[in-house]
Symmetry: C2
Subunit: 121 residues, 2 copies
Amino acid sequence: MYERKTLPNLNCGLDLIGEVIYGKWKIRLLWFINEGHQRPSQLQRKIPDATRRVLNIQLKELEEHELITKKIYPVVPPKVEYSLTEFGQTLIPVISALGNWGDQNEERLRSVIIKRLQPDG
Amino acid sequence: MYERKTLPNLNCGLDLIGEVIYGKWKIRLLWFINEGHQRPSQLQRKIPDATRRVLNIQLKELEEHELITKKIYPVVPPKVEYSLTEFGQTLIPVISALGNWGDQNEERLRSVIIKRLQPDG
DNA sequence: TCACATAGGGATAAATTTTTCCCCTATTGC
DNA sequence: GCAATAGGGGAAAAATTTATCCCTATGTGA
């Protein structure tokens, strides 16, 4: 695994929450798990742009940060289910707030994001 | 400037907000600007762990995403002031929600983050 | 027997972000 | 002339995050 060379800042609440939700797919993972898509393959179908590999890695981090738990059923073919911990559940309203803001400003956001992507204004 | 090789996903609200606030210092920049620290040198003092360079880069992106505006006063030595746009102001409650969650769970977060950082459990 | 579904992991490459280093503008004050 | 002030920016390096490729295992259905 990659080993950090610089320590994170943990000064304020924003630093702290950043440490656990900063990651390209983490918020979506939490969101979909909360919606009931608990198995890895389901999550992958909900987030087709991410590879299985990254999802596993980010799921593991979420688990280490105690936002989700992983339950492995000793069956073949393997079955795994992720669930939010109580701690993780407290994050849902916050994620919801993020998503709502994004939804409410969808058109404008799409516009400014795309404008910036195209070098020729 | 770096030119993206892969297009971002812009499917849902979470994708969209991610595009504009994902960046190591962006949320803090918005927060401090909102608190009245509008000049670059003030922001740098509030965020000493970031270099002036990154702050400039991220401020520029925030500006291009229309969350802040930059006012340059034609004086010597130069004077610059950033302000939130109306659009940017609507993001403040969301940032506030993030920060509050972080503050409310400070101890636990600090603990799980540090635990994960130290390879030997 | 072969393909598929499930879940996972190592090694390595590529993409992206952040940092470092060094330089530039112009004026005021010594 | 030189330093200090206030704000910037290019190039390249370092750090970090994501993606790609290939491999493990077992049971089911064609």
